[in-house]
Structure formats: structure tokens, C-alpha cells
């Protein structure tokens, strides 16, 4: 499989390797494709069917993510591939091509189309197109609960009759109807259920042309079961189909796997005559061909939908419109948004306090136990130091600091997502992102970044255009993640607030935190704007944002999946990145060269540079070592200042203040530390994630370099100007 090299920022068609049916199906009995419009609950269906038996990779040669999974049913193993969500298969953009070519060339045994019952007409656009390519289709009529709330009754039986394929009503997010769905899939795959797919009625103009063209295609390619589709694609100038025709591969496109007709490779003369004939036939409608095809499909969709959908009562759901009017209003829209985000932050910070403390106590108690064990065995001091006080401590620190806030933030965020509120945020802020040359959905990825930047980077997959996705990825780190909040809060309360009279000190601390958040967001816009005018120049992609109906979040499911998911991720990160960092820190603090520790040496070297940007040598050393995990920065700094041999925590803020002040730490230093913390390079996990998502060394390096340079410039500016005014 050819590996793609970098995020394709142009819309050029990349030549990619089409996987063969046999390779995809290896280890399984049947290959199943999952398609559907965006926002139909397709991923919910995918997750429900595959559970843990799934992984996410890439479409070969493209930077579009692909989820693959499997499930068992009645002793048969099914391989399920999630195709990109698309509104149609006609347009010449990456997602449509991937879906279309997969259906045509990889020939899954069954194609499941997930449909949003509340918008049947538009969803039928895709269904009718899929029915042209494949005979073995199952329609999953999802979100019927929402349809009911809108007062709509969808007659699945009627639909099934009209479409000629099984239609299964489901409410995927509570698991309703999924058994029937799997049964239907199995039935179609095994041949027990025979489908008789409906082919959409063509407009006269096209029918006339096809009457001439189809026999021509037959002559050149043999008898194909989806010949009407192939003919239409050829008329529209589809390159891939054209190539298949010329290579004699078209016969392999026969709708069924058995009994494919003889592979016919047309000779040059035949091809020339063929090209001429279809060009001549098509010329009267050349300009409007695409329009005619789409209008035929929609006319058919309207007919079918009107028969299947009845409005039984007035919509119970005017609540949607009422809420939206408030939430997007000129007056209260923004305040509500900001208030909600502040609420999420506040609950996260407050709620995480006690659990963090408890976890810390527990894990550090364990550390002491480990220490005793080592001593009991008479292990050398350095071994105990390295493994227990370095490695384990690093791990323990990260877990106790990171786990509680993440375990609160992410479920809260998922609640907002389940609720349907997130697109409203994107809707409110899109204008700013448009100005910055970016995509409205970057709002959501940015908000994710407040929880964890690695998660934010992954969520950028929701942005289709490679250019805009890259901008979102590169700027995600400017919003401080859960791991950086403790540092920010500590600095704000211990150093900034104390510089103000006690009456206003806590207000000052809060103000700093809000200001810092706003700086992060402002920097996101600024750098996005910069990138889209320099390194990532290009046009804005076509923007459409679907605003789903509000629905009740599935609290228990969210709590369960979010909690487990986040816990695993934090533990993984702690073990893989933080533990080694802990070991390294211990080494730096305990290896003596020429009477001083390595840490002191390093700090000495970096000191002049550090002072320039308002920090100092120890802080810079801490930041370099703590690349893996922002949480251990403060403990490392304390270790450096105290000259202790391990990362330390101090109990009282007064002690902390005294220690730092003794080292020359001033309000200016605190301020620069805060700014540096917000603006600097991503942590190791995030960088690693960026690498996996972009597969590009260039962009991964830039994702670190750009924030670093900005952090330096800003800190330098702030430090020098404040000093010029006589502060610290």
C-alpha cells in the first residue's frame, strides 16, 4: 500500500491504490460498506455494530480517515468499512470519489446507507445514487425518534417497497432496531434476501441521450449490471471510470461477484469511435447534464418521500426554534456561549480539586511503599532514585494532575456535543474564522483543545478541506489544555494576585485566567489568518454547517465511554511519555559533574537566554525536559530552585512564594511564565498525534516551531517593555 506523504493542500486528484476486495475481506466472510449523509448517526451505527473491534486508519493515498471494524453474526464474520459521509456521489471532490470508487471497485457484498428520517428527501439523493451502483443495499432509517418528535411518521414498509431493498427503522444511539439491521445485512449478504433495486426515473433529455450511449458502452465493455450509472459517469467525464473502460476493467464492475462477464479490453479504434459517438450524443445537453441528473434524482426522491412520510401531528418540537432564537440572538447569544464555557471550566477546576489531591496522596503513598521495598531488597540508592523517585513520580504526578480534570471536562464537552449545541458555537463564531481564512468548525476543535490538545487535533478530521484542517491543527495548541491550567492557576494566584491588595487579589487572579484564555483564542485567530495568507494560501472551501435538532444527551452512556476513554488515554500518556521524563529529570538532578548537578549546569547555560525573555535558566530546563507533559513543569522548577534531588511539591503558597522570590522570581517572571505556557510548543503526545494525522515531517516541525517563535517574541516583548517601565 502506497503511503501518502503529506496533507494535500491542492485539489489535484492524487493517484491512489485501489484496494482489492479480497485484501479488504481477509479474515472475514463478507465485506460491508457503511455510507450516509453527514449527521445521520452513521458513526453511532458503526460503533454500535463494531464496539471495540475497530481501528482508524487512512484511505490509501489520501489523508481522509477511515474507520474499519468487524462484527460476528450467526457464525459469520463481517468486515465493516466506514465510508466518508457525503451528500452525493456525483461531485468531483475527494470524499465523494473515495465513496464512489470504493463501491464500484472494491465491491462490498452489502452497502448500508444510514438515513436521517427527518430529512428523507435529501437523504434519498444518496440512496438513489447508491442503488445505481450496487444492488445489495440496506437502508438504515435512523433517528426515527427525532422524526416522531417533529410529528412525522415514516412508513418503512412503503419505502422498502418503493426502493426495492430492506429498510430498517432504528434509533441507533439507544440501540433500537440494530438487531433487525444486522439481520437484514446478513440476509442480503447471504442471498437469502433478494433485492430489486429501484432505478430513479430519468428526465426525458437524459433518457434520450442514454438510449444512444448505453448500447455504445455495451459494445465496448460488455454487459454490465450498473451500465446506466457507468454511462452517466462517462458522459460527465469521470476519469477513473474512463481509465477502467480503457483497461478493460469495467467488466469487474458487474454488480454481482459471481458470473462477471468476460473482461473485454477495447482496442484503440473501438475507443475512438466510442468517444466520438458519446460526445455527439451528449452535445445537446452537455452544459446541463449534471443539473438534469440531479433534478431527476430529486424529482424521484420527492415522489418516494411523499408516499412514505406523513405528518401526523404538529411538530412538538418548536422548542428547537425557540432555543435557537435565544442562543444565536444578537443580545444574549455570545454572553450565553461565554457563560457556558466559563461554567465548564469552573466545574472542571473545582470538581477536580479534591480528587486530584486524593489521587496524589494515594499515589505518593504508594511511592513510599515502593521505596521501602527497594530498601528492603537492599537495592542501590541510584536505582531506587531512578525508578521510584524519578520514573514513578513523574507518572504519578501526571495521573493525579491530569486525570480528574479530564474526567470532568470531556464528559461535559460530550454532553454539549450530544445535546447538539456545538454546531451553534461554530455558527456564532464562523464569521471570525472566515475572516481568518479558516473553517467555522475550527471553533469546535479549538474548544476541544481546552480539554486536551491531542484530542483537539484528532477532532480536526471533521474539517474536510486539507488546507483548513491543517490550519486548525497547527493553531490548536494556542488554547491551554487541562494539563496547563494548574500551572496557570498557580502562577496567577501565588504571584500575580499577591501583587495586588488582598481585597481584589482573587478577582485579579480570575481576571488573569480569563485574559489568558482570550489571548490564546486571539492568537488562534491571528495565526490562522497569518497562515492562510502565507504558508497555507488558498480559497475557502464550500461551507455548509448542519444544525441538528436538540436532543437529550445520553448521560450514562457518555459518562461511561468518556470516562473509560479518557482514563485509558491519560494512563497511556503517563506511562509512555511522562515516566521517561521523570527518569530524565531525576538523572539531571542527581548526576554530579564537577561538584554541581547536570541540572544546574544546563540552567547555567540557558540562563542568559532565559532572562532575555523574562524567564530564567531553570524554567527553560524544566520546559525542555517537560516536553512530554506540561503537568510536571512546576515540580521540576521547584526541584531546580531547591536543589533537591527529585521533583517536589510545596504545601503552602507562602512557602512557594518565598522560594521562588528568593531565586529572583518576580511578577514579570510569573507573567512571562504564564504567557510562555499558553503560547509554547505542543506536548509530546500532541506532537505525536500531529505527526499521525498529517504524516508530514514538515508540518509537524512547523507545529512546534511556530508557537515557539511566537512565545519567544511575545515574552521578549513583554519582559523588556515591563522592565523598561521599572517593573521586576
Amino acid at each position: 500500500m502506497r503511503r501518502q506523504t503529506s496533507l494535500d493542500t491542492s485539489r489535484k486528484d492524487r493517484d491512489y491504490y485501489q484496494e482489492r476486495h479480497e485484501d479488504l475481506e481477509k479474515g472475514h466472510d463478507y465485506l460491508i460498506a457503511l455510507t450516509g449523509n453527514p449527521n445521520t448517526g452513521k458513526s453511532t451505527v458503526f460503533n454500535a455494530l463494531t464496539g471495540l473491534h475497530q481501528h482508524v486508519g487512512n484511505w490509501p493515498g489520501k489523508t481522509v480517515a477511515r474507520a474499519e471494524g468487524s462484527f460476528r453474526y450467526m457464525e459469520k464474520r463481517y468486515k465493516l468499512i466506514d465510508l466518508p459521509g457525503t451528500y452525493s456521489l456525483l461531485a468531483t471532490a475527494t470524499d465523494e470519489e473515495i465513496a464512489r470508487n470504493f463501491l464500484l471497485f472494491s465491491r462490498p457484498e452489502v452497502v448500508v446507507v444510514v438515513v436521517n428520517s427527518t430529512a428523507l428527501e435529501r437523504n434519498l439523493n444518496l440512496v438513489l445514487q447508491v442503488l445505481e451502483i450496487s444492488n445489495n443495499v440496506v437502508v438504515c432509517l435512523n433517528l426515527i425518534d427525532q422524526a416522531a418528535r417533529k410529528g412525522l411518521k415514516v412508513n418503512a414498509k412503503q419505502l422498502s417497497q418503493d426502493l426495492g431493498v430492506p429498510v430498517i427503522p432504528t434509533v441507533a444511539n439507544v440501540g433500537k432496531g440494530l438487531n433487525n439491521l444486522v439481520e437484514a445485512i446478513a440476509g442480503v449478504a447471504s442471498g437469502k434476501i433478494i433485492t430489486n433495486p429501484h432505478h430513479f426515473v430519468l428526465r426525458t433529455e437524459i433518457r434520450k441521450v442514454l438510449d444512444v450511449v448505453v448500447p455504445q458502452v455495451e459494445k465496448v465493455a460488455g454487459d454490465l449490471t450498473n451500465i446506466r450509472w457507468v454511462a452517466m459517469r462517462l458522459l460527465e467525464g469521470d476519469i477513473k471510470i474512463r481509465q477502467a473502460l480503457e483497461n478493460g476493467d469495467l467488466a469487474s464492475l458487474a454488480g454481482t461477484n459471481e458470473g462477471a462477464s468476460v473482461t473485454k479490453k477495447p482496442i484503440k479504434a473501438e475507443l475512438k469511435e466510442f468517444s466520438d459517438r458519446i460526445k455527439a450524443a451528449a452535445s445537446p445537453i452537455r452544459e446541463s447534464l449534471h443539473d438534469y441528473v440531479v433534478s431527476s434524482i430529486y424529482a424521484d426522491a420527492e415522489t418516494i418521500a411523499s408516499k412514505a412520510v406523513t405528518k401526523v401531528e404538529a411538530s412538538k418540537n418548536d422548542l428547537d426554534a425557540k432555543i435557537d432564537r435565544i442562543v444565536t440572538s444578537r443580545l444574549v447569544g455570545f454572553p450565553i456561549m461565554i457563560a457556558l464555557l466559563m461554567l465548564v471550566f469552573w466545574v472542571t477546576i473545582e470538581g477536580a480539586n479534591v480528587p486530584s489531591q486524593l489521587l496524589a496522596e494515594g499515589l505518593f503513598w504508594l511511592e513510599d511503599q515502593f521505596s521501602s521495598v527497594f530498601r528492603w531488597f537492599g537495592a542501590p540508592q541510584w536505582l531506587e532514585g531512578l525508578l521510584v523517585h524519578g520514573t514513578y513520580r513523574g507518572l504519578a504526578w501526571v495521573v493525579s494532575v491530569m486525570l480528574p480534570p479530564m474526567a470532568i471536562f470531556f464528559p461535559l464537552f460530550t454532553v454539549l456535543e450530544d445535546l447538539g449545541y456545538l454546531p451553534r458555537i461554530a455558527f456564532n463564531l464562523d464569521r471570525f474564522f472566515k475572516w481568518a481564512g479558516a473553517h467555522g468548525k475550527q471553533t469546535i476543535t479549538m474548544c476541544m483543545g481546552f480539554g486536551c490538545n491531542a484530542a483537539g487535533v484528532i477532532s480536526c478530521r471533521s474539517i474536510n478541506s486539507p488546507r483548513e484542517r491543517l490550519i486548525a491543527i497547527l493553531t490548536n495548541n494556542f488554547v491551554p489544555c487541562n494539563g496547563r491550567w494548574p500551572t496557570l492557576i498557580l502562577m496567577a494566584t501565588v504571584f500575580i494576585a499577591t501583587a495586588f491588595p488582598p481585597a481584589v487579589s482573587s478577582l485579579a487572579a480570575s481576571f488573569i485566567l480569563v485574559a489568558v484564555t482570550l489571548i490564546g483564542i486571539a492568537m488562534t485567530f491571528a495565526v490562522s489568518a497569518l497562515l492562510s495568507r502565507t504558508l497555507l494560501k488558498g480559497e475557502s472551501s464550500f461551507f455548509v454547517l448542519e444544525m441538528p435538532s436538540y436532543r437529550r444527551p445520553q448521560f450514562s452512556r457518555i459518562l461511561y465511554t468518556s470516562l473509560i476513554d479518557r482514563t485509558i488515554k491519560v494512563l497511556y500518556r503517563a506511562v509512555v511519555w511522562a515516566a521517561p521524563a521523570g527518569a530524565l529529570i531525576w538523572v539531571l538532578g542527581n548526576i554530579h559533574v564537577g561538584g554541581e548537578t547536570l541540572m544546574t549546569h544546563a540552567a547555567g547555560i540557558l540562563s542568559p537566554f532565559g532572562l532575555l525573555i523574562g524567564l530564567d535558566g531553570i524554567i527553560l530546563v524544566a520546559y525542555i525536559i517537560a516536553i512530554p507533559a506540561n503537568e510536571i513543569i512546576i515540580p521540576t522548577i521547584i526541584m531546580g530552585y531547591m536543589g533537591t534531588s527529585m521533583m517536589t511539591e510545596l504545601e503552602s503558597t507562602a512557602e512557594l512564594h518565598a522560594l521562588f522570590a528568593a531565586q529572583g522570581f518576580t511578577v514579570v517572571t510569573a507573567l512571562c511564565l504564564i504567557l510562555f505556557s499558553v503560547l509554547h510548543y505542543p506536548c509530546a503526545t500532541t506532537t505525536h498525534t500531529i505527526w499521525k494525522e498529517t504524516r508530514s515531517a514538515k508540518w509537524t516541525i512547523l507545529s512546534n516551531l511556530i508557537p515557539l517563535v511566537i512565545a519567544f517574541i511575545v515574552c521578549f516583548g513583554v519582559a523588556q517593555s515591563l522592565r523598561a517601565f521599572g517593573f521586576g
Binding site: 427527518t118 428527501e121 439523493n125 447569544g333 456564532n428 464550500f542 454547517l545
Partner: protein, 94 residues
């Protein structure tokens, strides 16, 4: 955004439709990929749409199109010529 073409007074672009008003698509003034995308969403001549909500920043605006609420930016909505279906009495001005 006023069009300089020969359109009658009751024809405007989707971008000019006020919140709460209904309109019927007449034609699309754009070609290429954008046209295809708009057609894919079901914005064909004859389709009825309704303006549902507008961002507090003024852009984008969300429209009810064949059962879904979809937000479109001004530059795209202004390429869709529509016929205003709402009577003066039913209008809800934004």
C-alpha cells in the same frame, strides 16, 4: 447585494430573505464545484426554503432545506436567486 441582471422586483437572492420568510429557488448563479454542492443539498429550482436563524455576527444564516437546517455563508446564499413567498403579514423581521 443587488444583482445587475434582469430580475424582477419580487426576485431576490436567498441572502436577502429575512428570518421567518419562505422562498422558492429560481436559479443558481454559480458554476463549478459550488454549484454541485448546492445542488447536492437539494437547492434546485422549485425547492422551497425558509430562513430560520442568523448568527449574532450577521453571517452565516441557517435555512430549512427539505427538512434539515443548514447554515450557508453570505457569499453562497447570495448566488441563489429566489422568489419571496411570504406575504407582508407573515413576515417576522430580524
Amino acid at each position: 447585494m443587488k444583482l445587475r441582471s434582469n430580475k424582477k422586483p419580487e426576485y431576490k437572492t436567498l441572502a436577502e430573505i429575512k428570518i421567518g420568510q419562505k422562498a422558492k429557488v429560481v436559479k443558481l448563479l454559480v458554476e463549478g464545484l459550488t454549484r454541485r454542492r448546492l445542488l447536492d443539498l437539494g437547492l434546485l429550482p422549485g425547492t422551497e426554503v425558509k430562513a430560520v436563524m442568523k448568527s449574532p455576527t450577521g453571517d452565516p444564516t441557517a435555512y430549512d432545506i427539505r427538512g434539515s437546517v443548514l447554515a450557508l455563508r453570505f457569499e453562497d446564499a447570495s448566488k441563489i436567486v429566489v422568489k419571496n413567498l411570504s406575504s407582508r403579514h407573515n413576515e417576522e423581521t430580524n
